[in-house]
């Protein structure tokens, strides 16, 4: 029964994720109160699940990776609620809601479920994952190009040089900044959904061992970068040159993990 309460808690944390996505895409979210309420209930159910498990096992459920990450997510959630009650630090939700959601989601995959009802469902699920990832990368690439243009144009305006550079007349900084904000918001949304779909797929596909696959671990870490990026951009007020550099760093990192993953594996095997 404990796993059931945990899964319900994950669903409630999902509202928090939706709130973070809205902030990333539109800079404001109309569902913050709802998300916070759901988060409170989620934390309570999460605790119920942990207590039940402790009672059933006769010890604290910290035995394996799933149990530890679930417990860790719970602690983060509790600490956040304390911080929130004291300082009303809403900006932090953009970072913590998705983080707690994904950690609890991973924790909720301890007990394998029945395999796929049909091969078609399995393939369609995977196809959706791949499409989400690719669209996310496309949006991220757009953000990267806009960031490069931003840096060039910003430098030209700071140095007061009239001559347009290699790319001719670039769009105004304000426009580029909007493109960057919108495309990383979009990229974050798509990649987050891809991570959720992908994790669930991998969990159903390979049962308990899905998390030990390096590919998945790396993807989750890369997603962590995006989360940091979105947080710095939307809540910590990173703008302009710093934000453009941040986008480029994140894109560079994810390109590296991707290359390490796809390109270098055959070399490593040799």
């Amino acid at each position: 029964m404990s796993i059931f309460w945990l899964r319900v808690a994950v669903g409630l944390y999902g509202v928090g994720l939706a709130h973070a996505i809205l902030v990333a895409l539109r800079r404001r979210s109309p569902i913050f109160t709802l998300a916070l309420g759901a988060f409170y209930v989620g934390v309570v159910l999460h605790m119920v699940s942990l207590v039940e498990m402790t009672v059933a096992l006769g010890r604290l459920p910290l035995d394996n990776f799933y149990e530890s990450i679930s417990a860790c997510a719970f602690l983060i959630a509790v600490i956040f609620l304390f911080v929130y009650r004291r300082y009303q630090f809403t900006g932090l939700t953009v970072f913590l809601f998705p983080l707690v959601f994904v950690m609890a989601l991973v924790g909720a995959t301890e007990i394998p479920v029945k395999s796929w009802s049909s091969a078609d469902v399995r393939d369609a699920w995977l196809l959706i994952h791949v499409l989400l990832v690719l669209s996310g990368y496309a949006a991220l690439l757009l953000a990267a190009v806009a960031s490069v243009f931003y840096l060039l144009e910003e430098r030209r305006l700071k140095r007061k040089a009239r001559k347009a550079g290699l790319f001719g007349k670039l769009p105004p900084l304000g426009t580029l900044d909007r493109i960057i904000t919108q495309s990383i918001g979009m990229a974050f949304t798509l990649i987050t959904l891809a991570v959720v779909v992908g994790s669930v797929w991998a969990f159903i596909e390979s049962g308990r061992d899905w998390i030990s696959e390096p590919k998945i671990a790396i993807s989750l870490i890369t997603w962590g970068f995006y989360l940091v990026m979105i947080y710095l951009r939307t809540s910590a007020g990173w703008r302009g040159r710093k934000a453009a550099l941040l986008v480029l760093t994140v894109v560079f990192c994810s390109a590296l993990t991707w290359i390490a993953h796809i390109g270098l594996r055959p070399l490593l095997v040799q």
């Binding site: 144009e153 305006l157 700071k158 007061k160 009239r162 769009p171 105004p172 900084l173 304000g174 426009t175 909007r178 007020g237 990173w238 703008r239 302009g240 040159r241 710093k242």
Partner: protein, 421 residues
């Protein structure tokens, strides 16, 4: 038909002369009527702006008409011929076309590439058209001049960059923010230049303008001028975080905004960019402010430098524009020549037809016995002969007309067929 252009402009005449010769829009129709009545004037247009007064005319005889037009100018301007003579320039035929094309393309303007002159020329044309003063060759040339101006605008970058300090400020603001309709401007100090920049920014769409000045009354006066709001001078720092564009021109002998101040402003703005325009001398804003992220500081020299570079770029574009004008002048001339040759062609055809008719009349008695069908056949035969004969010269006339030495060939043909008798 000959073309003639007489006038003064900002290069040849001081404003005292230009203002006396100028025509205001209400007096223009009457002046055109008077001009039309001048001996030998076929078509005429008057272009009168603050920088130039020019009369363009299509005339029968250049020398006579030129004197007539100068007399007209002295009469309407109330100046004697001798005192305006040194300021007048006069162009004929091909030069007139070139000059009109250059004026329309803003190559003859005080600020090369400025867009107003084309509009002024268009309105001069439409006034002349309404008065019935242009309807022919001059009209063809003028409509072509508008097309040439458009071609110059699209094919060169002559009018693209700003060439005044206040416009440069607006251009930079647009390049930083993209859109200005949700932006706020703060004017610190009330100088003429900052007022001008604020006016341009308002026209470019900025939402709010705050004005602050040591002398409160001056701030109120300035705020009224472009619908702004007054901020007390001792409180303007509190307003700084709300301003996206700050224009300083106060007479303070020291920096009124230091790097430390602006750093705080940027933090309060959560890193939203700010554009600082310092047109005060001595400067009001510490130059090191420009090193801060999301802060763009331009002082008067920076702006002037952009103006100079833009002007230099315009000069380069102007060379390209001159080449376009030259090409268009050549094209226009050959077009006019082809039109000019039309009367010759018509008189050649009439001449041959007259010869044919005369021969018919001479042989009238002998042909009387012919049946209508036979008569018809003879008519067709003779008409065919003259058409065949005319074909060669007409083709040659059309071909030669477009060439530089075409007039001679036309002359030879006119003489050979005795067209002038």
């Amino acid at each position: 038909m000959k073309l003639l252009l007489t006038g003064v402009n900002h290069k040849t005449a001081p404003v005292e002369v230009r203002e006396r010769l100028s025509f205001n829009p209400t007096s223009l129709p009457a002046a055109l009527e008077e001009l039309k009545r001048c001996q030998g004037v076929l078509e005429a247009m008057i272009l009168s702006t603050c920088n130039r007064v020019e009369i363009t005319a299509a005339v029968e005889d250049s020398n006579e008409a030129e004197k007539e037009i100068v007399r007209f100018l002295t009469r309407t301007g109330g100046i004697d011929a001798e005192s305006i003579a040194p300021y007048l320039y006069q162009y004929r035929d091909q030069e007139v076309i070139r000059h009109l094309f250059r004026v329309a393309s803003s190559l003859d303007s005080m600020v090369i590439g400025e867009p107003q002159i084309l509009g002024q020329l268009k309105s001069a044309y439409s006034t002349a058209k309404q008065c019935g003063a242009v309807a022919g060759a001059l009209e063809t040339i003028l409509t072509r001049a508008f097309a040439v101006a458009k071609r110059v605008r699209t094919e060169t970058a002559i009018g693209q960059s700003a060439v005044s300090v206040s416009y440069v400020a607006v251009e930079l603001a647009k390049q930083i923010f993209g859109r200005l309709d949700d932006k706020t401007v703060l004017l610190v100090g009330a100088g003429e230049m900052s007022e001008l920049a604020a006016r341009h920014l308002r026209r470019a769409g900025v939402r709010r303008i705050f004005v602050t000045n040591r002398t409160h009354d001056r701030a109120v006066q300035l705020a009224k001028a472009f619908d702004g709001e007054v901020v007390p001078y001792d409180r303007f720092r509190e307003e700084l975080p709300r301003a996206d564009i700050v224009i300083t021109s106060s007479g303070a002998p020291h920096y009124i905004l230091t790097r430390q101040d602006v750093r705080k402003v940027i933090a309060a703005r959560r890193n939203r960019p700010v554009f600082l325009i310092d047109i005060a001398v001595p400067r009001n804003i510490e130059p090191a402010v420009n090193e801060l992220d999301n802060v763009f500081l331009y002082d008067i020299d920076d702006l002037q430098q952009v103006v100079d570079e833009n002007l230099k770029a315009r000069m380069q574009e102007a060379e390209e524009a001159e080449a376009i004008v030259e090409e268009e002048v050549k094209r226009m001339i050959s077009r006019l020549r082809v039109q000019e040759v039309k009367p010759t062609i018509v008189s050649l055809q009439q001449r041959l037809e007259a010869v044919r008719m005369a021969e018919f009349e001479r042989l009238g008695g002998k042909l009387a016995s012919l049946t209508p069908a036979q008569r018809e056949a003879v008519e067709a035969l003779t008409r065919g002969i003259i058409n065949k004969i005319a074909h060669g010269p007409i083709t040659e006339l059309r071909r030669k007309a477009a060439e530089p030495d075409g007039l001679q060939a036309i002359e030879v043909i006119r003489r050979a067929f005795r067209l002038d008798e």
